[in-house]
Structures are given as structure tokens and as C-alpha cells.
């Protein structure tokens, strides 16, 4: 059987939800893993909840479409926690953006990581826009789904031209959160 890790990232449009998923996907590709990234698309994206699923595996991935039994769930806002908490499999990892989410998860059979993305981004990096990279760093360091070391290569690929100057702050943001 395959060792596929199924990851769901959800939040408001504009919180960098799709970008977090793409960064994980680039990292997996650069580590020679198999990966699929699938966004939700449709009317719900306009001003509502945006989400994407990422599958990472050492062998070819059969179905790119996943709707339940996630290994990792990242919720960047409250509605996403309410909607998707049930879809995390027992023993799975839940990452909550506590800067925005003011409700508590209800399950006790999962690992819960509370990440105050915005506060960390502002106090430690001095740039609120790195909040999603604070979350990405927490995911990588806690799950080991990809390595932290590969992220410099990913950022070099994604932040080009004028954006290249953002690389140091984003690398720093990956390691900014303390449990």
C-alpha cells in the first residue's frame, strides 16, 4: 500500500491557503516525491472559504481527489475548523491559526497544534504578510512531511525578480513559531 500523506489546508481567500499548499508541493517535488495539489474551485471561492488538498507520497498517487481521512488539517479561520474537523483521521495532526480562530476543536483523538501566526509574524519577523509562512514552518517541523532544508530551494524558485528580497524574512518565518 502507498504511504500517501493527505493534507487539507483551508481558510479565507487571501490568507495564502493555496500558496501554503503549493509550497509544500514544490518541496515534495524537489525531494523527488510524488505530489498532487488540488484546489477547491467554484462559486464558494468568491469571498468565502478557500481550500486545497495536497497528497505527498514516495510512490505514484492514485486519486488526487480526497474528501476525508486527512493525515494533516490546517485551518486558517473558524468556519474551516467547523467544516473540516470531522474529516481528520484519528491520530491526525490539526494546526489551528489561533490569531483568527476563536473557537476550540471538539475532538480528543487528534494532535492539536495552536499557532498564533499573525502575532509571531508581527513580533518576530516584523511583517504580518509572513503569517502563512509561520504556519508552513510549523507544519513542516511538526509533521516532517518535507524537510525544512529544501525550503530555500523552493523560495528561490517561487520568489524571483523583485520578490527575491522577501526570501530571508520568509525563511526566518518558517522557524519563528515556538510551541
Amino acid at each position: 500500500m502507498s504511504d500517501v500523506k493527505k493534507i487539507l489546508i483551508a481558510g479565507f481567500g487571501g490568507q495564502g491557503v493555496l500558496l501554503i499548499g503549493q509550497m509544500l508541493s514544490y518541496a515534495a517535488m524537489y525531494e523527488d516525491k510524488e505530489v498532487t495539489w488540488m484546489p477547491s474551485y467554484g462559486p464558494e471561492m468568491r469571498g468565502g472559504v478557500a481550500n486545497c488538498t495536497v497528497n505527498i507520497s514516495s510512490s505514484p498517487i492514485a486519486s488526487p481527489v480526497v474528501t476525508k481521512d486527512f493525515d494533516v488539517l490546517i485551518v486558517m479561520n473558524g468556519p474551516s475548523l467547523e467544516k473540516f474537523e470531522k474529516d481528520l483521521k484519528p491520530g491526525g495532526d490539526l494546526f489551528i491559526n489561533t490569531s483568527i480562530v476563536d473557537i476550540e476543536p471538539t475532538r480528543s483523538d487528534i494532535n492539536i497544534y495552536r499557532v498564533d501566526c499573525n502575532e509571531v509574524a508581527e513580533s518576530k519577523i516584523g511583517n504580518a504578510k509572513t503569517a502563512n509562512m509561520v504556519m508552513l514552518g510549523a507544519i513542516i517541523r511538526k509533521t516532517g512531511v518535507v524537510s525544512l532544508a529544501i525550503m530555500e530551494k523552493v523560495f528561490n524558485k517561487v520568489f524571483t525578480g523583485k520578490k527575491a528580497k522577501l526570501i530571508p524574512a520568509n525563511l526566518q518565518a518558517l522557524e519563528a513559531w515556538d510551541e
Binding site: Q22, M29, V35, W37, S63
Partner: protein
């Protein structure tokens, strides 16, 4: 092959087409394929080509007719209801033997329908959505890599057969991202002389040096039309002999054979792993060409097979009808389906397979 890139399906389709020498694209927006015209609008001119956003699908397909008749490599793309609007001219293109490549990123129907993935255009693309005696050659990719390879190949097949070729993807393949190594970029034949050298039939202008070429799909003398159909028809017989393509998955000991294509075949593949873990021997035939239908794959099925199940995203079992036709009653055939833009997931395929087989 280039280094692997992480690309969204639709964007990868456009890149593969440009690398295949496509220099003309005409389109009209429709979800879930909008990244194709978006990419072409930005990049095709940089490759020395031309992009035009048409006022409708009908305009787009007829612009494509003009550009392809004069010998250019032309890509069209749309999604289900947009493809329906183009069918009149797909028939026209077939009648004058003009090659184009058309990508259909399928969504739910009928009518304007939904914007999520579907496979309910199977009959539209394989049975000829337009009028008259013709076929379109249809490829069905199940990954972004395979879609790129098929699109690249489709331009050569279209030119060889002088016929429209459809690459039939769906919303899932169009919208997802996967690592992909793009096929090598080819030079495109541009200019009358270069085009006339590779496509001597093209409308490049006779310049008083050769017979004039005309393309005409009106035959008021029916006996002449019958003769004309006989002239071009052997290419479809050749396609049926030479182009059938499919993948076989764990067929050697299979007692149950799934038939599934496109993104649904990946869901089926995951269900096969789960069913085999429970001791139910399932394999799969995955059509990579929908027309010609890979009938040869079914000729090889032996006595170990007890049941064939079409796994697809259409209410009536559009694929299943072709499966039944080629099997001629040899095995019982069942259907596992969702429709209207709803997707199958592996658990549902597993549960419904057990229901069909009456396994507890």
C-alpha cells in the same frame, strides 16, 4: 524532456501545445479551462504566434478553421457546453479534412450544467457531436504529464490523419497541479512556402504556379458525396487498426475488471488496491483513446473474468455502452457512477463493487 515543473493542468496543456508547434489559439472563456486562454493570451505572441479572444465559441472554431485551412497548427479549448457550440464546425472541418486539436475540460451537463468535473461528454466526443459520416480521434489523459504528452502527440496525429483530434480531460485534471516534464519545443512551419512543403493541401495561395485549392463541404450531387466519403473513410479504418491505446492494470488474475478513463481511473486504481487487500481480485482496462475505442484490450480477457464494471462520471453509462458493445454479452456488465459534477471517491467504488458482487 525538460526538468520537472509544478504546473496546473490547464497551464501545462497550453505549454505543451506551444512546444508542439501550435501558433494559433482562438478561445472564449469558460470554467474550468480558463487558464488555457489566459496563458495563451500572455505567451503565444512571444512564441511568434497569435491569440484571439473570440466573441463566442462559434466564432472561435471558425477562426480556427481559417487558420488551420491555411496550414497553421491550431489549438482550441473549451468545456462541455462550449464544445457543444463548436460541433457544427467540427463536422465542417472533418468534411474538408482540416486538422485541429481541441481540448475539452469536461464539466457537468446537460445544458450549461455545473462547473465541477464530469465525463458526460463521452458520447458527444466519440460519437460525433456534429452531423454526418465522420469521427474525431479522442485521447483521454489521466494525469497532467499524460495530458501534455497526448496534446503534443495529438498535433502530429491531426496532421497525419487530416482530422480534428480531441484531448478529453476533465475539471480535475485541468485544475490540479502535478510535477510535469514538458515535451521538447519544436519549430513551427511558418510562411506559405514552409507550410506548403509540409502540408501541400493547405490554402497557401496558388500564385499562378499550381492548381488552385478549394475547400468545399457542399455536395449537391449525392453520388459525388458518396464517392468522396469513400475516398477519405479508409483513414478511420486505419485509425481503428493503429491508434487504439489503453493501459492494463493487474489483469492477469482479475475476476472483476473495471473500465475507467481520465481522473476517474485514478480513483478506480485506489479502489483496486483496497479491494485486493480484502482478497477481491480486481483489475482494470483504462482506455487512453476513447475513439478509436480500445476493443483489442477486451479480446484478451479470459475465463478468469466473472464481471466487468464501468466506473465513470455519467448517469446513463455512456462508456458502459461501448464496453457492452465490444464484449457482446460475454460477461455481465455493471455500472458505478456519479454525475452532474459529483465525483466518485475510492471508498464509494469499493462499497458499490461489493454490493454488485454481493460480497459482505
Amino acid at each position: 524532456m525538460s526538468e520537472k515543473q509544478l504546473l496546473k493542468g490547464n497551464e501545462a496543456f497550453a505549454k505543451a501545445a506551444i512546444n508542439a508547434g501550435c501558433r494559433y489559439y482562438f478561445g472564449y472563456p469558460i470554467t474550468p479551462q480558463n487558464e488555457v486562454p489566459e496563458y495563451m493570451s500572455r505567451e503565444l505572441a512571444n512564441a511568434g504566434g497569435a491569440f484571439i479572444q473570440a466573441g463566442s465559441e462559434l466564432e472561435a472554431v471558425n477562426m480556427a478553421y481559417g487558420a488551420a485551412a491555411s496550414g497553421g497548427r491550431v489549438l482550441l479549448s473549451s468545456s462541455s457546453p462550449g464544445i457543444a457550440l463548436m460541433q457544427e464546425s467540427i463536422s465542417l472541418l472533418s468534411s474538408v479534412e482540416v486538422p485541429i486539436v481541441l481540448i475539452n475540460v469536461m464539466r457537468g451537463g446537460p445544458g450549461i450544467g455545473s462547473i465541477q468535473a464530469s465525463q458526460a461528454d463521452y458520447e458527444q466526443v466519440t460519437k460525433g457531436g456534429g452531423n454526418g459520416d465522420y469521427h474525431t480521434i479522442v485521447f483521454a489523459p489521466s494525469s497532467i504529464q499524460e495530458a501534455c504528452d497526448m496534446i503534443y502527440h495529438a498535433f502530429d496525429v491531426a496532421d497525419e490523419y487530416r482530422n480534428p483530434v480531441i484531448v478529453c480531460a476533465d475539471g480535475t485534471i485541468g485544475q490540479m497541479m502535478e510535477p510535469v516534464a514538458l515535451p521538447e519545443a519544436k519549430e513551427a512551419a511558418m510562411g506559405d512556402e514552409a507550410i506548403a512543403a509540409v502540408k501541400p493541401w493547405a490554402l497557401t495561395g496558388h500564385k499562378n504556379k499550381r492548381e488552385r485549392h478549394a475547400m468545399n463541404s457542399v455536395w449537391l450531387q449525392q453520388d459525388l458525396l458518396e464517392n468522396y466519403i469513400d475516398e477519405y473513410w479508409p483513414k478511420y479504418e486505419k485509425a481503428e487498426r493503429e491508434l487504439q491505446d489503453w493501459e492494463e492494470v493487474m489483469l492477469d488474475d482479475a475476476e472483476v475488471v473495471f473500465v475507467a478513463y481520465g481522473s476517474t481511473s485514478r480513483v478506480a486504481k485506489e479502489a483496486i488496491q483496497a479491494l485486493r487487500a480484502e482478497g477481491i481480485k480486481v483489475g482494470m482496462i483504462r482506455p487512453k483513446t476513447l475513439w478509436p475505442f480500445p476493443a483489442k484490450a477486451f479480446e484478451k480477457l479470459g475465463d478468469n473474468v466473472k464481471h466487468v464494471i464501468s466506473v465513470e462520471l455519467s448517469k446513463g453509462g455512456q462508456l458502459m455502452h461501448d464496453v457492452k458493445y465490444v464484449l457482446g454479452g460475454k460477461y455481465p456488465v455493471s455500472l458505478i457512477n456519479r454525475y452532474g459534477g459529483m465525483l466518485l471517491d475510492p471508498d464509494e467504488v469499493v462499497a458499490r463493487t461489493k454490493e454488485i458482487l454481493e460480497v459482505k
